[in-house]
Symmetry: C2
Subunit: 158 residues, 2 copies
Amino acid sequence: MSSRKQGRVVAGHDVNAYLARHVPITQAMGIRLRSFAADGVTMTAPLKPNINDKGIAFGGTLASILSLCGWALTDLVLREAGEVADVFIAAGTTEYRAPVTGRIIARCPLPPPEDLAAFLSAYRLRGRARLRLEAFIETRDARAALFHATYVARRPAK
Amino acid sequence: MSSRKQGRVVAGHDVNAYLARHVPITQAMGIRLRSFAADGVTMTAPLKPNINDKGIAFGGTLASILSLCGWALTDLVLREAGEVADVFIAAGTTEYRAPVTGRIIARCPLPPPEDLAAFLSAYRLRGRARLRLEAFIETRDARAALFHATYVARRPAK
């Protein structure tokens, strides 16, 4: 499966295979990229391996999947622009608002186009740039958790 | 193993058995309570199951172990005071400052005594109270991640 945005394929990059190979705890959590499209990145995970003592989703898993949504969006946006970078999270805040009692669905919308353009041009100019993103956990009734984070893209060594 | 603080046992409560039974993803992460003592709560986890694509600890695991440190401290402080509560995290911020390249060690110091006293008295009065805590990931050289969070204790139903 390739990652898609607005019908376009980000050639040769498969986020789920990458996570399975390089971030093994995501497999225990069952985290999967569902889509990369005009509305941003959506990832999902089953409740069962991520349940806590209250019978709802563990907050650490929610922080993890939200962090990964923003990481994937940053990485995929760079790849679509023909760039490859080391992308890492610099800071993230999770606000837990309502319990998650079923399948975990995390969404990270694309940021405003002017933010993306500024991020890409800074990266091309300096080989290092920051992107602020917001994401959330979606349930039928509400946004069960809100997340905002800053990601750094850095040109790989060598 | 029982949980201890300043040499005292929090009778009948074993955080590690509780996590193993009720928060299964902590077992995949290998998260363990090491101590509850005068300096607060210390938890550890091995790097290997929590590694990421850069060969360092995955940020989601760091957010998870830091969240759990504060949760355990809140729960254990209530138990020491003779109270049992449902404890959950309301919000948490993780600032990632340096890579974690070995065993993960997370510490949540006890908050100032006046904060603890206010928390316990609010809980006893209203059956619901908030506690703000700070925690960090410790490496030989630095605090590799800083965390601050708000926890809510609520009197269990029935």
